[in-house]
Each structure stands twice: as structure tokens, then as C-alpha cells.
């Protein structure tokens, strides 16, 4: 007990807290509580044993126990109260524990009082009262103890071992990838390599859960966990780790506390898992081994930079499309088999929406279904890709989102922003090789400078949002699948990237050498000029900005930078399949579900001259793409780890696809006055959504304002969107216009119904569907009912999804 108090006293002496004594006494609470627990309980048991004879030989023992028990019950209640106040415990559990503790103290005092009276003058009724009070206090004590244990050991302490209790969190030693058992043996027998592994595990936990408050940028409590020396130096209150002694390590105490305790760490977000706590404790137990050279160890996963040609399996002849070779290999490793490809109608609607953004007409569906060509799917996909302008107007949206290019937005009024639409459209029409596109964005002329020029708001902006830093962040995110946002303000705690790296890269885009700012405060240190990866070579810091940009563009787009091409093929894959091979698509250091497929797509893309259309063609003609769409129960699950590829994801159509469907089939949603971009000689059948500036209608449907890069749209239906669709004037008027036209085109209601289904869904109505529609339309429908029927059809969930 004395040994136990020493560190406590030490701690008290270290702190100059005026209430140290109260706090100290409070902390004795757990020790003192064991007196009443044992004594009052034993007294009650003895009382029951001697129930027949009040003046038994146990009487004096009981009396002694009662006295000691009652006094210590009162003392524990008092100390418990101090502990609660001083160390700031709160919550329903504390409340209950407190009330029961006080009840125990009061009941034991009453029992003691009655007992004292009893010894003077025994009365039967008083004996009964005394005994019941004592037993009640013992019961109260048991419950107090139970709730107290819940506070220190967690609410599931008792129940978690019962059969049928829910399993502990899944994040166990397994996904730490460490077998903790080997560390619990004789420490001298542990290999250096194993020690390093344990250390890496510990540092990974620090990095992922502690750095946000305890690293270079934010140093709460004076403690840093990102640097070996500082870890052992500890925080404001002294060391947090006592090597070899987890019991006396403040860090272990803190991470082991229950949720809601004032001292618990992390005090935000989830607690560490039991396995993580165990791992860190074992690490401390084994001497908290952390040699100096361990700093170079990478804590976060870093994907290799170089391109890689995966090794072909023995037999690839089963598949014409090489994507399927890798998918097949993946399927066999997962014990999955190939589903039948989708039917012609579904396939045609898919490639129309994916390549040109439009629905096929009923005539086109008919022609396709009847086409006898043995490779008609390939043939039609190729033909669609050859529709240069339709293709460009559809894919413009994808590129506008990721390059945050728009016709309006902040910065335009003050010349703080430049559009690149003309350049982009032309690049798409010409199917410019991606390497050239990337190079022209990085080392731009007037027409393509908008991307790295960024957005300049008038006034002084945070250092991490200077246009040079915006350029660094956006190039990293969009082209390299790398998040530099954290590192552009301070050393990142979500990756190994440092502030210096971000500034070194941003400096390439800068006219003058940048001064490094940490969290918007100048550090006095000037930035270097360099690429993010040494392997890609150096940048001449003395060269002019123009030459630096050119050098950077050449080096970043070099074919030895596999990352640039993996990032792009993954984006296109995600666009067509609803989910990337790597997710999130902006974090290319994450594990792909098939490394071989990703690597092959990238080298194949490079080998084919960076041909984007060819890449799209390869994907849409693969058997993998032709698999039935997989519905998702939850957008979140889709991007979690452990995703299994089974086929493309069922996708909701975009704001642009929906608008174009309405405009092409019924009436134009947009006026020619709203058209912001109309390439020369375009045969304007209708105004496509990508040609107009963002407006309330498109916003409600999910077109983002392009203030920041958007690489993944939210396709969740919501009330504001539903209201716009239900009573917005745009849709109402376009459908009314369509109703007029269709009424004149189709005399028979049945004709009208069939064509609507074919044009919008790519199929004919089922007989039940037809009956409902016929009944609604009646034998000679007027324009109102036709318009309402169209409304129903365009908002039909089946129309809203790409099957």
C-alpha cells in the first residue's frame, strides 16, 4: 500500500494544485472502500449465522466490524465525493454509485446505532430492525461496489463474459497485425525485428489517434507523441511512461480509463480498443523499446511509386478483355464466380449514360437488340466514343468537378480565377493524351492556367490557402491521389507528409520563395523547392517560375511516375463502376482490392499512349463492367475496408444526366440565354446541363458549387431536392412543353406509354404497369395528365438509377 502511494505523492508534489490534499484523499477512495466491503458484509453474514441467538460468541466481533465498517463507509463516501469533484467524474453511473454509497454509509450508521442501543437493552423488535438495517446496508454495499466497478472497468465489465453478450470491438490484435503472445515471454528472447514491429504498432496507434492533439502542431498538456525524446520527456505533469512499469505509467492509466472520465485519453472520439491498450501496455512492460534510428520507419502505408507490370497467370486465353483476367483471379481468390452479363437493353442504357450521358432512344434500343454483329457491344461502345461532342459534353462534368472549373463562382468578379472550359472541351473532343493534358495543366498557357491559378479571394488569406498552396494541394489530390491539406498547415497526422514537403512542392508554383508558415504563423524558415518524391528527380530552384513549372510537369508526368497514371485509371474506373479499385479515390496509398488490376490498367493506359477513350472502351467492354449492378444498402459501407468487388455498383444518375434526359425527351430545362458555353458549329438539339452555369435546380440535384475539388458526389436524395422536383418551375415547364409535343406525336395512349418506358427505362412496361398508366391517362388524355404522367416517370426510382 505504501509502495502504491509513493507515485501518487510524487505526483502531488509535482503539481502545485492548491487542492492537492483533497485530490489525494479522493484518490484513496478506491483503497478505503475495501474496508466496508469486507467488514460490513462479514458482519451481516455472521449475523445471519447467529440469527438464533443474539448474544452469541460472535457478538463482540460483529460489534468491532460494525464500528470499523460504518466509519470506513462514511470515510469512503466522503473520499468518493472528493474524487468525483476533484477529478471531475460525471454521468448517470457516477450518480447511482454516489447515491448508493451514501445510502450504505447512512444505513451502516443506523445499524451501528441500533446495535449499540441493543446491547444496553435488548428488545426483540429492535433486534429485527437492527438486523434488517444491517442486511440492507450490505445489499446497498454490493450494488455500490458493482456500479463502482463499472466506472473503473467499464459498463460491460460483468456482462461481457456472459454467454450471448455482444462481442468486443472487432478491432483486435488481428488487424494490428501483431501476435502479442510472443511478447509475453522472456523479453530477452524477443528478436530485434519483433521489437521493431511492436514499436511500429504502438507508433501507428499514436499517429492515428493521438497526434491530432499531441504532435508538432498541437501540443496539449505539453505532451508530444511524435518524437522519441519528447515521448519520454512527458508532458506538463512529468513523464507519462515508466519503462517496464505500465501500472505506474500515466499514459497507460489514461488510455485505460472508462469513457466519460475527465482524464481519459483520447478524450474525443472512440477509445482505444482493448487490443491496442494491451499492445501499448506490453510495449511499456517490455521496457518501452524505442531506438534512435527508428525515426525513419514509415508509420503510414505508402504505395510504391513505380509502375508495375503484374505477372500474367498461366492461362489468359479465356478472356479477350484483359481486365477480366485479373478480375477472374480476384474472384477465384474470393471463391466467387462470374454472374451472367446484363441483357442488351440494360447494357445499351449503361454505355449511353456512361459515354455520352444520354438515354438511348427506343429506336436505338431496337436497332441494337436486332444487330446481328457478333461483337455488337464492342462496336456500339466504339461508335458512342466516336461521337466526339456528345462524349465531350458529358465528360466535361467529370473534369469540371475534379478541376473545380465552372462558369461562375467566387473570384471571377475580381479576376481571382480563370476558367479552362474551352481548353478542356477541346482536349476531350480531340481525345488529347492524358499525359499532355496533365502537362498542360501543370505548365499551362493562358487557356489552361485556371487549375493551378486557383481561387484568390480579395484580402489576406490563411497561409495554407495561398494560391500556390492551393495549387500544391489540388495537384496532389487530383493528379497524385494524395492529401496534402493537413501537411500544408503543419506536419500531417494522417500521413508521413511534413509541412516542409508541402511547402517544398508549393514553392514550385510560387513567383517568390515562400516562407514556411505553421498554422498560419511564420516560422522564419524559407521553403525548399522540390517534388514530393525524391525518385522523381529535382527541380532547379534558381530557374524562373515558368521553367520550374515546365520541369515539374515533365517529371510528374514521366512514365516512371506510376502514381499519376494509377490515380487517373482509378478515377475513371470509379466513374464507370461506382467504386474505385482504391477508395477513397483521393488517397492512393490505401490498399486496392486488386493490386494487379490497378497496376495493369495503369501500365496499359500508358502503353496505349495515355488514351482516355481507349481506357473507357477497355473498361466498358470488359465482362466485369457487364455484370449486373450491385445495389448498396449504405453508401458508407461501400467505401469501407473489406469491400468485395462483385460487379458495378448501382448508381444514381447525376444532375446532368437527369437534366439532359428531361431536356432531350420533353422540353428544354434551360434557355439559350443561360447557355454559358457553346462550342462552334454545334448542332444544338437541346441545351445540355454542362453548358449552363450552376443554378438552383442543378444545385438541388447535386451539382456541386466548385469552390473546392469534388471527386465524389453525394447522391443521397433529400427534401430540398424533392421539393425542387415536386414544384419547381423548371421541371414543370419542361414537362408541360413535352406533353404538348407528345400529344401531337402519339395518338394512342398505349403508344405514348410504350415510348416513355422505352426512352426512359430502355424496356417496355409490364402489363400491370401499363394498366395503371392506361387507367390514369384514359382513352384521350389531355396535356395535363400527360405532363403528370411524365413527371411520375422521370422521378421513377428505376429511371433514377443506372441498372
Amino acid at each position: 500500500m505504501i509502495a502504491l502511494s509513493i507515485p501518487l505523492i510524487q505526483q502531488i508534489l509535482l503539481e502545485s494544485d492548491p487542492f492537492w490534499l483533497w485530490q489525494f484523499l479522493g484518490r484513496l477512495h478506491p483503497m478505503i472502500v475495501h474496508f466496508p466491503i469486507s467488514l460490513l458484509l462479514v458482519a451481516a453474514v455472521l449475523e445471519i449465522i447467529s440469527i438464533k441467538q443474539f448474544s452469541s460468541r460472535w457478538r463482540s466481533t460483529i460489534e468491532l466490524m460494525l464500528w470499523t465498517g460504518a466509519i470506513s463507509a462514511v470515510a469512503s463516501a466522503g473520499m468518493g465525493y472528493l474524487l468525483m469533484v476533484q477529478d471531475g467524474y460525471e454521468g448517470a453511473g457516477v450518480d447511482l454509485h454516489q447515491k448508493l454509497g451514501i445510502a450504505t454509509a447512512v444505513l451502516s450508521l443506523v445499524a451501528l446505532g441500533l446495535h449499540t442501543l441493543e446491547q444496553r437493552q435488548p428488545i426483540r423488535s429492535r433486534i429485527i430492525a437492527y438486523r434488517s438495517t444491517l442486511i440492507l446496508s450490505a445489499i446497498a454495499l454490493v450494488f455500490t461496489g458493482h456500479y463502482g466497478a463499472m466506472l473503473t472497468h467499464g459498463p460491460d465489465y460483468l456482462t461481457e463474459v456472459l454467454p450471448g453478450a455482444s462481442a468486443p470491438p472487432a478491432n483486435t490484435a488481428a488487424d494490428l497485425n501483431i501476435d502479442l503472445a510472443i511478447y509475453e515471454q522472456d523479453t530477452s528472447a524477443i528478436s530485434e525485428q519483433a521489437k521493431l514491429k511492436l514499436l511500429t504498432g504502438v507508433r501507428t496507434v499514436f499517429a492515428h489517434t493521438c497526434y491530432r492533439c499531441h504532435s508538432s502542431d498541437k501540443i496539449k498538456g505539453g505532451l508530444r507523441l511524435d518524437d522519441r525524446k519528447l515521448v519520454f520527456k512527458g508532458g506538463e505533469n512529468g513523464p507519462v511512461i515508466t519503462a517496464g512499469d505500465p501500472e505506474n505509467s500515466e499514459l497507460i492509466r489514461r488510455i485505460s480509463l472508462p469513457k466519460g472520465h475527465d482524464d481519459v485519453m483520447p478524450n474525443k472520439g472512440d477509445l482505444l480498443t482493448p487490443a491496442q491498450i494491451k499492445m501499448i501496455s506490453i510495449w511499456v512492460q517490455n521496457g518501452a523499446w524505442w531506438p534512435e534510428n527508428a525515426e525513419d520507419l514509415k508509420i503510414f502505408r505508402n504505395a510504391p511509386l513505380a509502375p508495375r507490370y503484374p505477372e500474367w497467370p498461366a492461362d489468359t486465353s479465356r478472356f479477350d478483355n484483359k481486365i477480366d483476367v485479373w478480375v477472374d483471379q480476384y474472384f477465384s481468390s474470393k471463391n466467387l464466380s462470374w454472374d451472367e452479363p446484363v441483357d442488351d437493353r440494360t447494357y445499351l442504357r449503361r454505355i449511353y449514360l456512361d459515354i455520352v450521358g444520354l438515354n438511348p432512344s427506343s429506336e436505338e434500343i431496337h436497332q441494337f437488340v436486332e444487330d446481328p454483329h457478333p461483337e455488337k457491344r464492342q462496336k456500339w461502345a466504339r461508335e458512342l466514343l466516336d461521337q466526339e461532342e456528345s462524349y465531350a459534353l458529358h465528360w466535361l462534368t467529370f473534369w469540371n468537378d475534379i478541376l473545380r472549373n465552372d462558369y461562375t463562382g467566387t473570384g471571377y468578379i475580381t479576376k481571382g480565377r480563370y476558367g479552362i472550359t474551352e481548353w478542356l472541351f477541346k482536349s476531350l473532343v480531340d481525345n488529347k493524351p492524358y499525359q499532355d493534358m496533365a502537362r498542360e495543366l501543370l505548365s499551362p498557357d493562358e487557356s489552361s492556367k485556371g487549375f493551378i491559378a486557383g481561387i484568390q479571394w480579395r484580402g489576406v488569406v490563411n497561409a495554407s490557402q495561398r494560391t500556390e498552396m492551393q495549387a500544391a494541394q489540388n495537384v496532389a489530390q487530383v493528379m497524385l491521389g494524395l492529401n496534402l491539406k493537413c501537411a500544408s498547415c503543419h506536419d500531417s497526422f494522417i500521413s508521413d507528409w511534413k509541412l516542409k514537403d508541402a511547402y517544398g512542392f508549393a514553392n514550385i508554383f510560387s513567383e517568390v520563395t515562400m516562407e514556411i508558415n505553421r498554422c498560419d504563423k511564420p516560422t522564419g524558415e524559407m521553403a525548399e523547392t522540390r517534388l514530393l518524391w525524391k525518385e522523381l528527380g529535382t527541380i532547379d530552384s534558381t530557374a524562373s517560375r515558368e521553367n520550374r513549372l515546365e520541369e515539374m510537369a515533365t517529371k510528374l508526368t514521366d512514365t516512371n511516375n506510376g502514381r499519376l497514371y494509377r490515380t487517373m485509371v482509378n478515377r475513371i474506373w470509379a466513374q464507370l463502376m461506382g467504386r474505385g479499385i482504391v477508395e477513397p479515390v483521393d488517397e492512393m496509398d490505401q490498399l486496392p482490392w486488386s493490386q494487379d488490376l490497378l497496376d495493369w490498367l495503369a501500365v496499359n493506359f500508358v502503353g496505349n499512349g495515355f488514351d482516355l477513350k481507349n481506357l473507357i472502351y477497355t473498361i466498358v467492354t470488359s465482362r466485369a463492367y457487364q455484370l449486373p449492378a450491385i445495389p448498396v444498402d449504405n453508401n458508407l459501407a461501400l467505401r469501407e475496408e473489406g469491400y468485395t468487388f462483385r460487379g458495378p455498383v448501382l448508381r444514381k444518375i447525376t444532375a446532368e444526366q437527369f437534366s439532359d434526359m428531361v431536356s432531350s425527351n420533353f422540353g428544354s430545362l434551360f434557355t439559350s440565354k443561360e447557355m454559358k458555353f457553346n462550342p462552334e458549329n454545334r448542332d444544338t438539339n437541346f441545351i445540355r446541363a454542362s453548358q449552363v452555369a450552376n443554378n438552383a435546380f442543378l444545385t438541388a440535384l447535386g451539382r456541386p458549387n466548385r469552390e473546392v475539388v469534388v471527386t465524389n458526389r453525394n447522391d443521397q436524395p433529400n427534401l430540398i431536392q424533392a421539393l425542387e422536383l415536386t414544384n419547381g418551375t423548371r421541371l414543370t415547364q419542361a414537362l408541360a412543353q413535352g406533353a404538348e409535343q407528345w400529344k401531337n406525336t402519339y395518338n394512342e395512349p398505349e403508344d405514348l406509354i410504350d415510348h416513355t418506358y422505352m426512352n426512359l427505362l430502355g424496356r417496355l412496361p409490364l402489363s400491370d404497369e401499363k394498366d395503371v398508366a392506361l387507367q390514369a391517362l384514359g382513352p384521350s388524355p389531355d396535356t395535363n395528365i400527360i405532363q403528370d404522367y411524365f413527371w411520375v416517370m422521370v422521378l421513377h426510382p428505376e429511371v433514377q438509377f443506372i441498372k
Partner: protein, 477 residues
Amino acid sequence: MPNSHNRRSFLKQLSAASIATMAAGAPIPGLLSSCSSELSSRIPATADSVIWLFMAGGMAHTETFDPKRYTPFTKGMEGNDVLSTFPSIPTALDGVHFSKGLESMAGIMDRGALIRSYVAADLGHILHTRHQFHFHTCYEPPQAFNVPHIGSWISHELGPVNEVIPAFINIGQRFDVGEGEELKAYHTAGFLGDEYGPFLIPDPTKGLDSVRPPVGMSEKRFEKRHELYNQLVSESPMGEYGSDYQKESMKASMEQAYRLLKSPEAAAFNINKEHRESYDIYNTGKFGLGCLMAKRLVEEGARFVSVTSEYVPFMGWDTHENGHTRAKDMKKQIDGPISQLIKDLDKSGRLDRTLIILASEFSRDMMVEGRPDQKVKEQVNQPDILEEMKHYGMHRHFTDGCSILMFGGGIKKGHVHGRTADERPCKTIEKPIYARDIHQTIYHALGIPPDTHYMIEQRPFYTTPEEEGKAEKDLFA
């Protein structure tokens, strides 16, 4: 109509489908996952709803709620002598004065708190929309993420009070005006997801159009159309085309819209239903009618209603000349409706659970531009000697001392917080309070813990930067 809701009871009332919709509302996991505070139960809410009255364009404190020495206009006067261009009037609070023209509001000052020490952000350059962005989101533009409006945070944390009424309604701002794009940049739910975005009513007189069947469509036809939708959707072999989840969330949102349009609560958007007498008091223009709509909406269970005097460059409170005359006009617009709004809510008992806040992005002064010690280059051409009436007024931007009013929702009654200097520069000299503190004070009243944050790209994004703001406990009763 339930008048007191919390997140828990709100969640209980939702159908399984809409919970699923909400749960999946966060756009991109990995990049983004919801992470509200664990400590939600710790703060008891003193308010359920918020009415945010925004004086867009920079309302001079010396001409409104913090008057200084009055100097009437005379030809050839020195601008430096002028602190206020209106005489002071007494208020219901002893020793506290307002500027002339705010008589009605002066009469109810014993029902709320007056903050005279708001210090606007120093953004290095005065640009209304940048300061507005900051005041509405607590973050300085630009940001690497789309950051949410305070109304979106509240909508995200608490949901609607009455399920059929959108949680966040924004009244009175058009976006096809100058700096419209900058205005759009902060009228957004940002990374929280579109469902928490503002329901926009640019013109309160046309508010009903947003919540009734399309123009020209009869009620009966509207019902039939909805019926046909449900029929055809249920006839379709949807199982093959989408999971129940996807179909249901689509259907659920359409159903929600239909229910709002059909609900009796939709009448709250119809200010013409108000008694003539009451309507006339509010009818001082678009802003006044916005207040009327806010009152009606809160009474039916809106969570966060913003009413703005509307920002249009050089209009409204953005006085670059004729400041005196224009301020007189603006005061006429706000005095009656705001005081009536407070009286009406007080009368109906709603004021106790509704926090009303009136604020502006910054204040104005006749001579000082920007911070007292930091001049801004492109300042208004304001002569030192005033020869014309058009130069008599507060034409320059001033960020170092501004007034904010708060009423209801647990706020002290008849309280004054902070003080500004009585001589130029009339800057805050006691108890400065910043945008982050104002935000935290509102969150505190609603029971939203100060450390509320969202995990975005694996790092926490707080309601106020680095969770540094502090709720001003002094303001609470």
C-alpha cells in the same frame, strides 16, 4: 404541435426509412464520417429554435444600439467631430440608450441582452461577403473544404423540430445580385451534405410558392399525380433495379416533400394568412415580412430561421454615402417588425425556447476605415470637412466595436455586456466578444457541446476553429 424536442425524441419519431436516409447522409466515408460529440447529454438546452436576424452590409453601432455624442449636420462641419448623426433616446433599461428611430425596440430592451463589444474578424481587407462568410461559418474564406453555415450545423446536430418543416430556412437573400457567388459560398451545408442545406426563400411575399403545388396545378390534380407516382413505383419490378434502401430513400424524400406541401403547417409560409393588423405592423418591406414569416415558422416548429435585410452591394446597411438618411430608413424597416416579433413570441410563450439574435458582419464609422490602427487602401472618399448632406453618415467599415442583440432562449433579460469607447475610435474597451464566442453561445443555448466536430479526411473539423470559441455564460439567465 410539440414545442420541445431533442435529438433523441426526434430520432424516435422518424421512421426506419428516414433514419436510414439520415445515417447515409454523409457523402464520403474515409474522407468523411460523422463524429458528433460524445458528451451531448451534458448541456441542457435552453432553446429549441433560433431566429437569426442579419443586418447585411454593416450596421453602424453608433447609429443604432450604442449611440455616442450627437452632432447635427451643419455645412462646413468637421467630420472628425461626428460620432453619431442621431440623438439618443432612453430605453426600458435605466441608463441604456438607443439611437433615435428605434423607439419600439428601446421599449423591449428589458426582455433581452445587448452586447456592445463584438469585435469582427481582421481579415486584412474589408469585403462584405468575406466577413459575412466568416460570421456565418466561423471560418475565414477560402477553405480547403466547403464549410457549413451555422444553420446547417444546427440542422445536422438537432434535425427539425417539426419533421415536415425544413430545419434550416433562409429568408430574404437573392443570389443573382452583385457578389452573388460569394453569397452562395456560405449559404451551404458544405461537407455535412445537401440535406442540411438552407431552404431558400429569397422573397417572403412569394414564400408560399415554395411549398405549394406547382403554379396552375389544382390541389386535386396534385394529389392524383402523387397517387399515380406511388402506384407506378409499387408496380415496377424494382427489386431488380435497386435495393430497398435506395428505392426507399428516394421515395421517402418525395413523400416528405409531398407531406410538407399538403400539411397544414405549410400555411406558416403564407404570410397573407396573418391578421391584417399584425401584418401591417410587420409590413415595412421585405425584411419586416421576413420577420413575420420567421415568427409563423417558429410557431409551427422550424429549427433555424435566418432573416436578412439582404446584402446587395451599396444597398441596405451598406451605406457608402447618404449614411444618415439611409440609416434612418433602415431603422424604420427593422424597428417595428423586430420588436413585434419579440412581443408576439413572448405572448405566445415561444420566446422562452426561441433564441433571437440580431447581428451584422461589422460596424461603420465616419472616419476610421478597418481597424483603428490598420487602414485599408481602397477606402470611401469621405471628405474631412462636410459640405453636403450626402457625406453626413457612417460610410467607412469599422470592425473593432459592433452591437449584437439577443432575446429569449435562456438569455438574460435587461442585460448589457461590454462597452465601447465614447470617443473615436469607438472601439470595444470592455469584454470583447468574437464570432466564435457568439457561435458557441448559440450552440450552448441549444445544448450542442462546444467540441462538436465532424471527421473530414480523417481529421476533426469543429463548429468553431480548433473549438476555441467560448460560450458567454454571462449572457444566460
